[in-house]
């Protein structure tokens, strides 16, 4: 039953059609919200059930294997979490809420298709499906202050995005010109013989650029702070976490083109990793808007993820997968707090979190654990991921890089700790109490448990990630 291989995506597609129907009626967002949540939960269930499916679809351009299904599952979980905790969708006008849900679901559909694509053109189409939906989501923010910052963000986002895509397409043309094929399974053996050719390296590096943009690796990070700030909190929560999953998946796929070894690509990774970590962490130190801060911290984390890729080994890829899953959970925990602290959907500064432990103890705890986890303090998932990435990189002989990365941990702790300080030490006077719905509480407890459990029992996830990576090597 070939159709069953496509079940999670198909379900998302049907769900988005349903939401499209709602958007034609005068729905105020409630029924489309229910439909969106049902769709994403359905996708979670279907991805989970189909975790061990294997097969090829659409003239072999679309591969279903453990690797793709694992990422689909995480994408679906991430989308569900964002939908669940952004209960009221405060930052979006009522009349366009159905459209908002529509594009959100379509975007994650695009991401799910992306991780299964094993052919350059279908990869490109899936990527654009997801990106264009995001380009539309950003300016949908309710313009409360009349500053139209969301428009600025959207323009920046689309320009940078289009440029990155352009570079990527250019690189694809090189690969096609060299090998005469767009299929990964045919590209791999041909590129292995060509791996030392400068053209091949340039081509691969350019294709990587498209996903460096998604993952916000230096120097493709310029959109990050402004888009994070300009988009509504819910949109940012999505942009900051879910597309990065797919970006890592595709970076791994493309890096496998030059596996087992290519010094030039490794050097590119090393330089970009160091620049991302330092740039992200140093800029984050001075941020006042917490979304901007998380944006810069995301750049630094992207640099960390490259540490796993540059080992060009199965365990390295597996740790990168583990790290990005952990990053998803930690990031969602932080954004959950931001979305709920923001009263009318406005941006949240770090000072707005003052005395959160009195206004909403559970949110404060979630924020603290999210921050400590992002900072890489044990026993949370951020530490385990960092530790394994460093081990892998040192095993690959990158001593300088590892020392620089460790130094970055020490820099980063300052701004993460500042947030914890504000939530626990500042006085709550002058700030309103925060209402927390039962659903949000459940999600935040779930995230806390996930952060801790993934941190102290990583063996299972690592084993799954390893066998997923084995499948694509």
């Amino acid at each position: 039953m070939k159709l069953m291989l496509f079940a999670p995506e198909l379900f998302m597609l049907l769900g988005s059609l349903l939401i499209f129907l709602f958007s034609l009626s005068d729905d105020d967002g409630i029924s489309s919200r229910v439909a969106a949540i049902a769709t994403s939960i359905g996708a979670v269930v279907l991805s989970f059930v189909s975790l061990n499916n294997n097969g090829m679809l659409f003239f072999d351009a679309y591969q279903v294997d453990l690797f793709s299904q694992l990422f689909k599952l995480m994408i679906a979980i991430g989308t569900t979490a964002v939908l669940l905790f952004s209960r009221e969708l405060k930052g979006i006008q009522e009349k366009i809420r159905p459209e908002y849900y529509l594009f959100l679901i379509l975007s994650s559909l695009g991401l799910m298709m992306l991780v299964s694509s094993v052919e350059l053109i279908s990869m490109f189409i899936a990527l654009e499906l997801s990106s264009f939906c995001l380009y539309v989501l950003v300016p949908m923010r309710d313009d409360q202050k009349g500053l139209r910052t969301q428009m600025e963000s959207a323009i920046k986002y689309i320009f940078y995005g289009v440029i990155a895509t352009g570079i990527m397409l250019f690189g694809m043309s090189y690969l096609f010109g060299l090998t005469g094929t767009t299929y990964f399974n045919e590209l791999i053996p041909k590129l292995h013989t060509l791996a030392s050719e400068p053209v091949a390296i340039v081509g691969i590096a350019m294709v990587l650029c498209g996903f460096f943009f998604k993952l916000a690796v230096f120097p493709f990070h310029f959109w990050v702070p402004d888009v994070y700030q300009g988009a509504s909190n819910e949109t940012t929560a999505f942009i900051a976490s879910v597309p990065k999953l797919a970006a890592v998946a595709l970076l791994i796929r493309i890096t496998t083109l030059v596996t087992p070894q290519s010094d030039a690509i490794i050097s590119i990774f090393v330089v970009l990793a160091v620049c991302s970590m330092f740039y992200g962490n140093l800029c984050a130190l001075v941020q006042k808007d917490i979304k901007r801060m998380l944006g810069f911290s995301g750049i630094a984390h992207a640099g960390f993820i490259l540490l796993g890729l540059l080992t060009m080994k199965e365990t390295g890829y597996a740790t990168s997968i583990y790290y990005i899953f952990g990053y998803l959970v930690m990031n969602l925990a932080c954004f959950l707090v931001i979305c709920n602290v923001s009263g009318q959907g406005e941006n949240v500064t770090i000072d707005d979190l003052s005395g959160l432990h009195k206004r909403a103890p559970l949110l404060a705890l979630t924020m603290a654990i999210g921050m400590f986890a992002l900072a890489g303090i044990p026993p949370f998932v951020g530490f385990m991921g960092k530790f394994m990435l460093l081990t892998g990189a040192l095993q690959a002989g990158q001593l300088t890089l590892v020392i620089l990365a460790a130094l970055n941990t020490a820099i980063a702790i300052y701004y993460y700790l500042s947030v914890v300080k504000v939530t626990y030490c500042n006085s709550p006077e002058g700030f309103d109490d925060v209402d927390v719905s039962l659903m949000t509480k459940t999600v935040s407890i779930g995230l806390i448990v996930a952060i801790i459990l993934m941190g102290i029992m990583p063996a299972k996830i690592l084993a799954i990630a390893s066998s997923a990576v084995q499948g694509i090597l």
Partner: protein, 504 residues
Amino acid sequence: MDFLILNEGFKLLSVLIFLPLAGALVALLINNDDASRLWALLVTSVNAFISIFLYSNFNLETVKYQFGEHYSWIPSLDIYYTVGIDGISLLLVLLTTLIMPLCVLASWNYIQTRVKPFMICLLIMETSMLGVFCALDFVLFYILWEAMLIPMYLLIAIWGGPRKVYASIKFFLYTLAGSVMLLVAIIALYLHTGSFSIPNMMGQGYSSTFQIWVFLAFFLAFAIKVPMFPFHTWLPAAHVEAPTAGSVILASVLLKMGTYGFLRFCLPITPEATLTMMPYILWLSIAGILYGGFTALAQKDMKKLIAYSSVGHMGFVTLGIFVLNVQGIEGALLQMINHGVTTGALFLCVGMIYERTHSRELADATGIGKHMPIFVTFLAFFSLSSLAFPATNSFVGEFLILAGAFMHNKVVAACAIPGAVLAAAYMLRMLQKVIWGGVNNPTHTLTDLGTREILVLAPFLAFVFWIGLAPQPFMDVMHTSVAHLLDQVGVAQGPAVIAQVIGK
């Protein structure tokens, strides 16, 4: 697992480590201040009681790690859950378990806001501290070593004094920055030996350069924790702002982790580098002893005074460790326990004054002796112990350290002697002011210690005299392990004559 004696029956160490954590989880469900106090007291007391079995079942003859447990944890990276204790860690484990119930008792009235989270932080602290002393797998050790920062940070940042924000952030940043390179060193060692097991890393004959780098990474992390001069600046801030229980935990247990790290990791894993770096560290210790003494002499704030005195006392401990002979190391180990007992008790005393006068200034505490005779009796004994008065615990420890130092190098030892004199000067100065100074101080309508407070201080006093008058049981426990440690470093030793003389 030839270094480990597996514990077949009751998993004593795991129970000790995880009982407080389980207690903390249960405490989440309690919604009453008094109940959470009682619960924390119960959990820590049960833990203290269980830990006594460690002492009674401890085998004095073997150099292997006892009460061992060994389970696979993260197979893909060869990470195991391995715990076990030897003569070096046993006393520190006991110190931790015995001091925790007293910390809970001491916070009974002092903490009035958010009692439940406070008790949860204390319980999590206990888990991670015990884990650090028992861990025989480097990853396990590092996780607990770092994880401890979070509850300690919260203890200072939430329940601390007026400058708590500054102090807590400084504490966190300093300790974290110190230990990032430790992580790199751990990974480098793993890549050399293929396992994270601490005993397997010992005696591997690494190259000299590699040893020096690893030693420096270790040293930075542990020297900040001790804290050694010039890495000590976080300590006075953190001590002064922390709540009483926090100060006691900091002084009694946390500082010991640095010196424990030297003994457990630096000496046996990088023996060659230890010998190379020894002279520099000895002089840093001397600097710490003298600097701590002089600075303490100038303090007006009692907590600061004791904090700086800690810098001096810990200088003695590192001095004892790095003279690398039996007397020095046994003295250092004993002095670690002594410092935990004496300084912990002194912080409790200051906390008791603070509860009454709401000031830590020495000037506001003058002439208390007239109103609080029982209190000043305790204070006097602890102060005498702090300046290493004969018949108190610190005398034995400091004497052994100085004896070891003289055997090693007379100049070094001679330079440490003024530290002992300085200790007498600053402690007697404080004592004189508190007991006899200015009786016309207007704030004094003070009540003397209640039963709870006497109960808190009495065990400390018992240990002051027990160790002071009959140190032999304590020395016996550590002797085999210390001799083995010195074998690992490669400095042959004759019989420890002085240690035995003192014991009798």
